[in-house]
Symmetry: C2
Subunit: 69 residues, 2 copies
DNA sequence: ATTAAATGTCAAGTATTTTTTACATTTTTT
DNA sequence: AAAAAATGTAAAAAATACTTGACATTTAAT
């Protein structure tokens, strides 16, 4: 896939605004804390399913959390 | 990840409404026709980056194309 | 009816995400 | 200050996305 375009996100900010810990969020979307950390930290490109679940839990549009640059 | 929740999509319909072939869409998002076919056919869980690019090209929200059930 | 374009299938290999485990550091609570 | 909770780092294995190539079938165009 296009290597020049990088996926970024505002997950850390939004998660904290909502008042969830990484572990709580991980639990709510049935993934691990590691995966949440990887998304927040690294320029990591999670699956669409995971992005959708996160957006549902945080009550945001996918585009409000994830964007390409 | 949660195996009970499956990612589905309306890509085939939306792509045809917009009037793009699989190959054209693939080119526009810098992927291969195989990947487009896999998304349309199989219950395939593409990356968030790819989902976002597709949604940009088709001028739809990610949620209009992809959803979980 | 023939040709061309679009779609579908298969398989193998590569790249990346996700899980699991374990420990270190920082921040918050008491 | 001590304990508890939250966050960070690392690394290996497992699972899955993505690529490449080649061919079959269906649909649209001439």
């Amino acid at each position: 896939m296009n290597k020049e375009i990088v996926l970024k996100n505002n997950l850390k900010n939004i998660r904290q605004q909502v008042g969830l810990s990484q572990e709580e969020l991980a639990g709510l979307v049935s993934t691990t804390r590691q995966t949440i950390i990887a998304i927040e930290k690294a320029q990591f490109n999670p699956s669409t399913k995971l992005a959708l679940l996160i957006s549902l839990v945080l009550d945001k549009k996918v585009e409000e959390i994830f964007y390409v640059e």
